[in-house]
């Protein structure tokens, strides 16, 4: 069980939205995390990589900054096994490469622009994620 957190989750979501808007307003870019990672690990020129690297570093230090402000490190719980993290991770990597985006790029940036491709992609991955969780928890694990 995890606690239902509508207010903190909505607040966190609004911060995500604010960051997405600021990136468009400053650098003119979509805040799609899989795209940012993919370009960073490609043969793109250094000028295309530097701001992306800085963005990812900012994301990684976020828990530490939260710790410095609040005094407690955010807590997460990871139910999947190591094998599941590896298999799931590889599938995520393959999927976002072919699908040109993930929850942030399609689910937030694209959906907010009412992009048909992003809406179709988001509906598709939400459906397969739900089906996978159902299968793992109630068919195989149930």
């Amino acid at each position: 069980m995890t606690e239902f957190t509508p207010l903190t989750s909505a607040f966190g979501g609004m911060l995500i939205g604010l960051a997405v808007v600021l990136l468009m307003g400053s650098l003119g870019r979509i805040a799609g995390i899989s795209g940012i990672v993919g370009t960073l690990f490609s043969s793109a020129p250094a000028s295309e990589k530097s701001w992306r690297a800085a963005f990812l570093v900012g994301m990684i230090v976020a828990p530490t900054v939260l710790f410095l402000i609040t005094g407690t490190m955010p807590v997460i719980e990871v139910p999947p096994t190591t094998a599941m993290l590896v298999i799931g991770g590889v599938l995520v990597g393959i999927g976002v490469s072919f699908g040109n985006g993930c929850t942030s790029g399609h689910g937030v940036c694209g959906m907010a622009r009412l992009s048909g491709r992003s809406i179709a992609a988001t509906l598709t991955f939400m459906a397969t994620t739900a089906a996978t969780v159902y299968l793992l928890r109630h068919v195989i694990g149930g």
Binding site: P6, G12, P79, G88, V90, G93, I94, S97
Partner: protein
């Protein structure tokens, strides 16, 4: 240099939103999708909050001639739906349902000092690089024939 500093700060804000919202917590993600079991609807509020702010903010920002620190807005222009897009999205969803991390959730989790996000991240990179390798081989074969 300004671009890099601005990008770092926006990344920090993005990551903070991810952590506060619960998107970096696989238990919460998996419970959101487990409607038949231990359902936790929080993720809908994350998406809702992010979408409202982005939809309004994008309207204001994209009405300008150009972004503050760049010459133009880089926006996707494709409109067609193809098997590659939908197939990729479907595979991504299966992976998300197995691992509980998506790219945006997994990266801030790297800063928590735990091993699971690192395992996920390395596996995700391997998947991305495998696709790149496959595409390079394909384009070479195509240009050779």
């Amino acid at each position: 240099m300004t671009k890099i500093l601005v990008s770092f700060l926006i990344g920090l804000l993005f990551g903070t939103g991810i952590v506060i919202s619960g998107m970096a917590n696989p238990a919460k993600i998996l419970n959101f999708f487990d409607i038949a079991g231990t359902w936790d609807p929080s993720l809908a509020f994350v998406m809702g909050g992010a979408l409202v702010v982005t939809a309004i903010g994008y309207r204001l920002v994209l009405a300008r001639k150009h972004p503050l620190l760049a010459e133009g807005f880089s926006l996707p222009t494709r409109r067609d739906l193809d098997a590659r897009l939908l197939g990729g999205a479907a595979v991504f969803g299966i992976g998300w349902g197995i691992a509980g991390f998506c790219p945006g959730g997994g990266i801030p989790a790297l800063g928590l000092g735990r091993s699971e996000p690192i395992i996920f991240f390395v596996a995700m990179l391997a998947g991305m690089l495998a696709v790149k390798l496959l595409e390079t081989m394909r384009s070479r074969t195509a240009s050779a024939t």
